[in-house]
Amino acid sequence: MLQFTRWKMVAILGTVLVGILIALPNLFSKETVDSWPSWVPKRQLVLGLDLQGGAYLLYEVDKQDYVQKRLRTLVSEIRKAMLEDPRIGYSGLGVQGQGVQLRVRDLSQLDLVRKRLEPLRNPLSNSILGGTPVNEFDLSVANDGLVQMTYTQAGLDQRVRSIVDQSIEVIARRIDQLGTTEPSIQRQGADRILVEAPGLGDPERLKSLVGQTAQLTFHLVDATVAPGQSADQARKPGTIVLPSNEAGGPSYVLEEAPLLTGEDLTDAQATFDQRSNEPVVSFRLTTGGARTFGDVTQKNVNRAFAIVLDDKVISAPVIREPILGGSGQISGSFTLQTANDLAILLRAGSLPAKLTIVEERSIGPGLGADSIRAGKIASIIATAAVCAFMVATYGMLGWIANIAVLVNVILIFSIVTLLGATLSLPGIAGVIITVGTAVDSNVLIYERIREEFRSGRSAIASIDSGFHRALGTILDANVTTLIAAIVLFYLGSGPIRGFAVTHAIGVATTMFTAFTFTRLMVAMWVRWRRPTKITL
């Protein structure tokens, strides 16, 4: 147990040295480390949001909202399909739960209905592996004329998956434009997106940029409704009633079919209106969009059209003259920042579905700094107290244990740094618990040596068999703890995971130091002092 070949000694000390080198940059500021030559390891610990401050936003795709919108589109698709020649008579077309239903009048047309609606089932091409194609909708045609199209679970799942992918792209584009922070955007589970912005104390602006659907549409205002007439009473098929985005503003009756959508825009910028000097958003349209807009404005001079963002009317200017140049501007009592944000949203495109925040945590940088300071002080005091106790109990061997624990802590930090894992406040607690249990492995060894010596063996033989016996115990005990820590890492979230990372690494390094480094140091001590008595 106390014999080490030369290469083994070199390997152990080499590992410890490499660990120290990797952990070293953490002692210096970012600027100092950047100025070092390129061959020196420079990686530093990634601090969790709870330590450096920042915002954590968990979004979820609003499936219900998406399904309702999609079904409304399906209704109009069905309406269009039924109008084709020969016309199919039906009644009661509408959204019913997770699907759409209608009743066909002439039962002899059922086969025709089936043929017409089949394409609307919308096969989704996901099958890279050539599996069975998934339809978005199930179609059932009953003999009594009841026709139902309902969302399939597979279809909905796949839709949600692609919504999440698209949303991540859109969010990334929006945040890129913001340009100040470097948030991470990741998928979480089937229908969630996690946005983490380190260093950002106040997430309000981020939230308004990320969470807004930003669905822009242009609609003609229904001219047949007299001003002042209650909007709801005037409602007729093919129109929608939308509120103004200003509190207390009037509602508008609009033609349901949009003239243009956000997709017809090529560019948007925040500028100032030349006359009023107010901030506005000016936009440019695609060639196709410009042509449509030109036609419509030519035919509808003196009518009003509404600019609608997320089902709220921003403004409803009257068309004074045809707009043929393919560009225009949106005014609507903006500040420079809101104009700028709207321009960013329009440039980055709209989200394919509404996102709701299901979890939000934000930590101001002040609180994070306080936590780091407290964590440092507590770690130093904990280490000092444990070290003092060990020296009082074991003397020289206590010092060896202390060096082993110190090496242990350095190794934990170097592995966390190397893996790029995040160090959070519970993570620091994990390190401190490891200090406690790493000492345990030394205690197990020393108590064992002591016992062996008291049972009448020579000093060297006691040390040898003490190590031999204690290491079996240490292995079993630590593997048990390691299992617990690994399960926590995989199943836990947030603080539990932060704790599990350092704890698992700590258990591993504890085993390493007990089996190699401590043993090597004790062996060197034995060679140096040649003890004949053990005074523990």
């Binding site: 709870d50 979820e60 104390g201 106040d202 709701t356 925040i357 299901v358 979890e359 939000e360 945590r361 934000s362 930590i363 101001g364 002040g366 609180l367 306080d370 936590s371 300071r373 407290a374 964590g375 002080i377 507590a378 904990a382 107290a385 444990v386 106790f389 009082a392 109990t393 074991y394 003397g395 406040l425 519970p426 607690a429 401190i432 618990i433 406690g436 249990t437 345990d440 205690v443 108590e447 002591r450 008291r454 016996r469 115990t473 079993d476 005990a477 630590n478 048990t480 703890t481 617990a484 399960v487 926590l488 199943l491 836990g492 979230s493 947030g494 603080p495 539990i496 704890h503 005074t535």
Partner: protein, 318 residues
């Protein structure tokens, strides 16, 4: 130089004779914790209930809690709790789950922001929606169950099934009693508390395995004494280690408790309680269980050597 010895050598404390009252006390405490848990319940935090927690630092050195409470209650957000924490001008505001789902929570927070604008700096805002809170609770429970099963399997392979059962019952006892601790103290029970409990599970299992390892070794060494005496001997032999380790772990935890800042104070307090419970449980619950489940004193010997080495085995058991 004389070294510090907290425990004298060659102690002969009859732990297993004490099991007649330590074991029932442990069982009673567990039962009591379960009753309290059902009857009163812990003070669940927003992680499991949903809701909002805001920590602010007021511009005034002495925040006027009454005024704050009045302003916030005027917003019509239901139950709003206001209390000071840590530093003099830090205030914690808790707002219950809003009816109307996630969007309503967001509205509530923007109302609070407007109301307190200019008066205070927002240090921390946590908002947990109703869906996430349910999942967080379930994930925590799942993590605990999987840990138990995985460790039971490991211990079963390395020892005997009685050891696996014993270590799990002992760890479960620690978990239940620590839950009881949360109910009695009414400290907020949140994800971090769950982390604390799961850590004590790890610590308890670690400690139980150390004790079991020694019992297994003693079983192999002595064949002529009863199981109770064997276990007593094993525990007494390593009493020094148990006490020293407890002291070092508690030294680390107490420094964390006193100097680690308010954010993890509740976490460490539960850990301190859990570590003490774990160490007592290894001796008072895990060890006697081996007797109750009828571990045979020859179970650790190879079948071949059994007959030759312990001829008195049969007589001893009769």
């Amino acid at each position: 130089m004389r070294h510090l010895r907290l425990v004298p050598d060659n102690t002969t404390i009859p732990f297993m004779r004490m099991r007649r009252w330590t074991f029932p006390i442990a069982a009673l405490l567990s039962a009591l914790s379960i009753v309290l848990f059902i009857a009163i319940g812990p003070n669940y935090g927003i992680d499991f209930l949903g809701g909002t927690v805001i920590e602010i630092q007021t511009k005034d050195q002495q925040p006027d809690l009454g005024k704050l409470r009045g302003e916030l209650n005027g917003l019509g957000l239901g139950d709003v709790q206001v209390q000071t924490i840590g530093a003099d001008n830090s205030v914690l505001i808790r707002i219950g789950q809003q009816t109307g789902g996630e969007a309503a929570q967001q509205e509530a927070i923007s109302k609070v922001r407007t109301a307190l604008d200019g008066q205070a700096e927002f240090r921390r805002i946590d908002i947990v929606g109703p869906r996430v809170s349910g999942e967080l609770a379930w994930n925590g429970a799942l993590a605990m169950i999987v840990t138990f099963v995985a460790i039971a399997i490991y211990v079963w392979f390395r020892f005997e099934w009685q050891f696996a059962v014993g270590s799990i019952i002992s760890a479960a006892n620690v978990v239940i009693v620590t839950f009881g601790f949360y109910v009695v103290t009414q400290h907020e029970f949140n994800l971090t508390s769950l982390a604390a409990i799961l850590t004590t599970v790890g610590y308890s299992l670690n400690d139980t395995v150390v004790v079991y390892d020694r019992i297994r070794e003693t079983l192999r060494k002595y064949k002529k004494i009863s199981l109770a005496d064997l276990i007593d001997r094993a525990i007494n032999d390593m009493l020094g280690r148990t006490v020293i380790t407890t002291v070092t772990t508690l030294l680390a935890l107490f420094s964390l408790y006193f100097f680690g800042g308010e954010v993890i104070q509740a976490f460490t307090l539960a850990m301190i309680f859990g570590v003490i419970a774990a160490i007592l449980s290894s001796v008072c619950v895990a060890a006697p269980i081996l007797i109750y489940f009828g571990l045979r004193t020859d179970s650790m010997n190879d079948k071949k050597t059994d007959d030759t080495k312990s001829p008195t085995k049969g007589a001893q058991k009769a």
